[in-house]
């Protein structure tokens, strides 16, 4: 718990330093930085990743079954959520 508190506190302080430094830097337009930050985030999550997933779904349909190596790991038919990790509850990684 102590290590986590140190990491989170140090991280928040560094983020605050970045924000204050960016706002105080006369060479920087913070509005432009914010627009670009939001742009790359939305562009990735709302455009690039859906296109990648759609392309993957199309590939799965058109690639012959014998070449679908990655599919070997699919759960047996009938299992509802194949997103579940190997050990229930182990997938805590969040975003």
């Amino acid at each position: 718990m102590k290590a986590r508190a140190v990491l989170v506190t140090a991280g928040l302080l560094i983020m605050a330093y970045a924000a204050v430094g960016a706002l105080a830097d006369p060479d920087l337009k913070p509005g432009g930085v914010l627009i670009f930050l939001a742009g790359v985030l939305v562009g990735h999550d709302a455009i690039v990743m859906p296109i990648v997933l759609a392309a993957g779904a199309v590939l799965i349909r058109i690639v012959p079954q014998r070449h679908k190596r990655a599919q070997r790991g699919r759960p047996p038919a009938g299992r509802k959520n194949s997103e579940s990790p190997a050990k229930p509850g182990a997938d805590h990684t969040d975003r």
């Binding site: 508190a5 991280g11 337009k29 959520n81 182990a90 990684t93």
Partner: protein, 416 residues
């Protein structure tokens, strides 16, 4: 993230801290189930390749890559904007080309790593309910900052080495610097929040079922694929600084043999608006200092002792090329206008009317170095105007942007 499950009670009343903690972790009302559609549906993402372990391994690789990028980038920033306590040596002459080459190569290798890492956690973007508590919402917001900052750095970096600045509504160098701090801060917060999950996955807490084993094998292939992609990106770009690999540098925007006199050019004389002044036959270089002022034309400069140095020009964008430079030692010019050229700072100014890099200050350890030249020739030929004709600075172990081209004035500032 300290969770207080046993709030202190004083005389039957909870303390403000306990109330704050309770509010912070209190469950938020769930949104209507009717909204749970599309990617929010359970089981909307079905790839068995995703797992905490995969995410952790990719995260570790990215953590190393971003740390290396941050440290090498910070070093480059300090060299270009040295605070009073900072000191950067003139030797070894190749040190900056290595640190900056590593900076760019690591950043490029991180592109496929970040892509797959974000793919591995993409379903979590649609986790339900979107926010279980204020604490959960704050954690998700910090991850949004981390993802945005990481994408900002890599996308911006790639745009920079491609010299495509139109999509970035800010000055790249400054934005890249401050968002680097933001990225590292958000990375530490993320590491702190996810530490238990990371530890658990590294302990190998995985099931041995056939399905899990098969999925793990596929994940191994996926990781191999990601590693191969990162390796290929490195192999096809690192040739911009490692000459024997230049033939493989298909993705590198600059290669060692490009440009006039087989040396790449970032800023041309036309681009700097300096062509006419540089080619003016009446050109004179002003050398000024505490004990005098000289106005030297090219004949005067060529009459001074000439020296040759084999030095790399190492760009902040990662490419670097060794070249043979010939000209006058900067310390010999400083000696014309001061008594002790071994300990002076020297301001070198370009003929450019403006521009962020029209002038540079050379610290004593570089100014007195016998390899630091006001170069008049490159590879035995008179400098091409895009390489800084009539005269340019070339010093060991300095970023290319500090190797001022089209020198118009040299001012010895004295020792500080």
């Amino acid at each position: 993230m300290v969770r207080d499950t046993d709030p202190a009670v004083n005389g039957g009343r909870t303390s403000p801290r306990s109330r704050l903690v309770r509010w912070w972790f209190a469950p938020l009302p769930a949104p209507p189930e009717a909204l749970r559609r599309g990617p929010l549906r359970p089981g909307a993402f079905r790839s068995p390749l995703r797992s905490t372990r995969l995410t952790t391994l990719l995260g570790m690789a990215l953590g190393v890559a971003f740390s290396v990028c941050f440290l090498t980038g910070l070093l480059s920033h300090l060299i270009q904007h040295p605070p009073g306590w900072f000191w950067w040596p003139a030797r070894p002459v190749w040190l900056y080309r290595v640190t900056q080459g590593v900076h760019v190569a690591t950043g490029l290798a991180a592109v496929p790593l970040l892509g797959v890492k974000l793919w591995s956690v993409y379903p979590r973007l649609f986790s339900w309910p979107p926010a279980r508590s204020i604490a959960h919402a704050a954690e998700r917001a910090s991850i949004a900052v981390l993802v945005a900052a990481a994408l900002f750095q890599l996308v911006g970096g790639v745009l920079n080495i491609s010299h495509w600045y139109a999509p970035m509504p800010f000055f790249f160098t400054t934005g890249h610097y401050w968002v680097a701090w933001l990225t590292i801060g958000a990375l530490l917060v993320h590491l702190g929040v996810q530490l238990p999950a990371i530890r658990a996955s590294l302990k190998g807490e995985v099931s041995q079922s056939d399905h899990a084993r098969a999925a793990r094998l596929s994940r191994r292939r996926l990781l191999t694929g990601v590693g191969t992609a990162a390796g290929l990106v490195t192999l096809t770009t690192v040739g911009q600084t490692i000459r024997p690999l230049s033939g493989l540098a298909l993705l590198a925007p600059r290669r060692p043999g490009d440009g006039p006199q087989s040396l790449p050019v970032n800023k041309t004389a036309n681009g700097a608006g300096v062509r006419a002044a540089a080619l003016d036959p009446s050109y004179r270089m002003i050398v000024a200092g505490p004990s005098g002022r000289h106005s030297l034309d090219l004949t005067d400069l060529n009459a001074l002792p000439q020296h040759t140095a084999e030095l790399p020009i190492a760009c902040v964008e990662g490419w670097s090329v060794n070249a043979t430079w010939t000209g006058v030692r900067l310390r010999d010019l400083a000696a014309l206008v001061c008594e002790d050229p071994e300990r002076v700072w020297v301001l070198v100014e370009s003929l450019q009317a403006d521009g962020r890099y029209r002038a540079t200050t050379v610290p004593p350890e570089h100014a007195r170095d016998p390899l630091t030249l006001v170069a008049l020739r490159l590879g035995g030929e008179v400098l091409h105007v895009d390489h800084g004709y009539p005269a340019r600075l070339i010093a060991p172990n300095r970023p290319g942007v500090l190797q001022t081209k089209w020198i118009g004035r040299i001012t010895v500032l004295g020792s500080r």
